[in-house]
Symmetry: C2
Amino acid sequence: MKPDQRLRETEQFLHQQIPLTRAMQVRVESYGDGQLTVTAPLQPNHNHLGTAFGGSLAALVMLAGYAFLWLELGDREAHLVVSESTLRFRRPVRAIIRASCRQPNEATMAAFKAEFAATAKSRIRLSVVIEEEGQSAVEFAGTYVARRAPAAS
Amino acid sequence: MKPDQRLRETEQFLHQQIPLTRAMQVRVESYGDGQLTVTAPLQPNHNHLGTAFGGSLAALVMLAGYAFLWLELGDREAHLVVSESTLRFRRPVRAIIRASCRQPNEATMAAFKAEFAATAKSRIRLSVVIEEEGQSAVEFAGTYVARRAPAAS
C-alpha cells in the first residue's frame, strides 16, 4: 500500500469512527522520519479569544498518539486507550494546529510490539508536541494501553 | 438574574464563542452546592469502541473549569486559560458524559478573587471529575490563569 493511501485510510477511519474528528476537520498529514503529524484548521477549533480551544488541542494531541500506534501496529483489532496524561499549554496557537507524535526509541517500540504480540496487551508512553513558528506551544505525554480484542462493533 | 438564566447564558456564550461545544452538544446542567456540572451526550462524542472519545472527555473537563470560573468571577473581560493539567482515565464512559467542577475551599476562592481584583491576574487549581454510576471514570486537575484584558473581539 502506498504511504499516502495509508494516511487517507487512517483519516477515513477516524472520521467514520470518531465523529468529533469530522467536526474538528482533522487530517493525517504525514508519517515518517520518526514522527506522525495530524492537523486541524483553526476555524472550527477556536475559542472565545480567537486562538485554539484547549479542548481541541487536547483532543488533537491524543489523536496523534492513537494514529501513530494504529499505523505502527497495523492491527485494526488493537483497542487503544489513554490511561493517564499530562498536558502543558505554553502559548496560544493562532493558526492551523499541527500535532506531532515523536516515535520513542527503537528498543522501546520493539518491546511494546513484542509484548503486544505475546500477551495481547501492552503499554507505551508517547510524547506529542504542537509547535507554531518553531516554538513549542503544547506539550503532551500520555500512557497508551493497547489490547487485542474482538472487532469493535 | 435567575440561576437558570445564568446557566443558559453561559451555555449560549460557549456555543457562540467555541464552535466545538456546539458539535459536542455541551449543556451547562447545574451550578450550586459547591459544584458546576456540564454535560454532553455520547452520540456526537463516541469513539471507535462506542464509548466516549478521550478528546471529548478532555474537552469537557476543561470546559467545566472555564464555566465555573466565568460564573464565579462574573466578568466577561476575564480571559481564562489552562496552563497545565493532568488527566487520568479510570474506566470507559458509556452514556451521557457529566463533568463536575468542585469548588475549592472558601479561603482559596477568596484569595483567587482578591488577587484578580487587585492585580488583574490570578491563578487557581481546579479539580473536575466525570462519574458514571457512582464511580469515578475521569479525574482532571488543571491550573487556570485569569487575566483581565480588553474585551475579546
